[in-house]
């Protein structure tokens, strides 16, 4: 039986693993990938010590740091957590693991538009990850849906590839610093107060139907990047721990959930701000609380 299983290897999970390794705990770090949403960032400019670093490069540093403590990431996707005698059983697709404590740091995944055409054209013009899919849109016209920091981040990824970028938003809510930067990119056209109704095409995307000032029209684009926020990855524990109305895990000041022995950290929790540096700090807090819990 493990002392601790950490689910997720974003900034919260990685920091928790580093602290757990320093405490010489018998633990498992389980995740589908390393870095989580950090790897999707064009430029991370607010992580102390690393100004203007790309998300990919920050993930490389995270990986290196884990290696220095000989922490290996067990590739896996937690499907369920069950209560057992003296702890918990974490169930994955192919195996189950027993542990005394758990830290859930499973992060978030992109929110979908839930409009006609979105699912049909996934991988045929509809994308949720600009860092993964930008090269496919070399010389093409694209629409980025969303007005937050992530949407503007997608603009910076695509500006080296796309011919024309429409930023389709209801409101621009990104940081002013980023808005100023996109104004300097000539190929970007911002469409405000605009609603996206449908993604159209034959074998691949040929346009999006939008509504602006009560009038509908088709915007001719070959790519649609959906950047309208994230939803927490909590489905696998929604019958076990208490969630808030946004389906985030409710934690106390020690990162404990309503189930003693289950802790949570990072974007998956109800902690207000979702930032890399905050998630890292929360991961540290969670593992120190788990350590105290085990000593009781």
């Amino acid at each position: 039986m493990f002392d601790l299983i950490i689910i997720g290897a974003g900034p919260a999970g990685i920091t928790a693993a580093i602290y757990a390794a320093r405490k010489m705990m018998n633990f498992l770090l389980m995740s589908k990938d390393v870095g989580g949403q950090v790897g999707w960032s064009f430029c991370v400019d607010n992580y102390p010590g690393f100004p203007r670093l790309s998300g990919v490069d920050l993930v490389k540093k995270f990986r290196k740091h884990l290696k220095e403590f000989s922490v290996k990431v067990k590739e896996g996707d937690a499907k369920e957590i069950k209560k057992i005698n003296n702890g918990f059983e974490v169930v994955t697709n192919d195996k189950s693991y027993e542990t005394k404590t758990v830290i859930i740091a499973s992060g978030k995944t992109p929110r979908h538009l839930d409009i006609p055409g979105e699912e049909k054209f996934l991988g045929s013009g509809v994308a949720y990850c600009a860092v993964c899919d930008s090269p496919y849109f070399n010389g093409k016209d694209v629409a980025i849906i969303g007005g937050g920091n992530a949407a503007l981040d997608a603009v910076f990824h695509l500006e080296n590839y796309a011919n024309k970028i429409y930023l389709v938003v209801r409101n621009l809510t990104a940081e002013p610093f980023l808005i100023e930067r996109i104004k300097k990119i000539g190929k970007v056209e911002v469409l405000t107060d605009t609603k996206v109704l449908e993604i159209v095409g034959d074998k691949s995307v040929s346009g999006v139907r939008i509504e602006q000032d009560g009038k509908q029209k088709i915007l001719n684009v070959q790519g649609v990047f959906v950047e309208i926020g994230q939803v927490p990855n909590t489905k696998f524990v929604n019958n076990l721990v208490k969630l808030n109305e946004s389906e985030e895990i409710i934690i106390d000041k020690d990162n404990m959930t309503n189930v003693p022995g289950i802790f949570a950290a990072g974007d998956v929790t109800d902690v207000k701000e979702k930032q890399i540096v905050i998630s890292a700090g929360e991961g540290a807090k969670a593992v120190l609380s788990a350590w105290d819990y085990l000593k009781r």
């Binding site: 990938d33 990919v56 590739e75 991988g123 994308a127 990850c129 993964c132 090269p135 496919y136 849109f137």
Partner: protein, 87 residues
């Protein structure tokens, strides 16, 4: 039968693509991995209408498309079933 895997060095979702290629190699299934950031990789992806990473296209010996997974990886079980059918 050849399994073509479309991936990209910088793609945070693509770590599993490399492992998938290794699994295929170990299982004796012919597989090729393409980086879509390279000219050749992107050209190959375009040939099969791939616009998302990671994606997988399985072709027969005459390079005819048998099955495609867009912006996702199939399981080894799915590939083995396809290989059995191809035999």
């Amino acid at each position: 039968m050849i399994v073509k895997i479309f991936s990209m060095k910088e793609c945070p979702k693509c770590a599993s693509a490399k492992k998938f290629k290794k699994q295929l190699d170990e299982g004796g299934i012919k597989a090729e991995i393409y980086d879509v950031k390279t000219v050749d990789g992107l050209a190959e992806a375009t040939l099969f209408g791939i616009m998302g990473t990671p994606s997988v296209v399985v072709v027969d010996d005459s390079n005819k498309e048998m099955k495609t997974w867009r912006s996702e990886l199939p399981s080894m079980k799915e590939i083995k079933e396809l290989a059995e059918k191809n035999v």
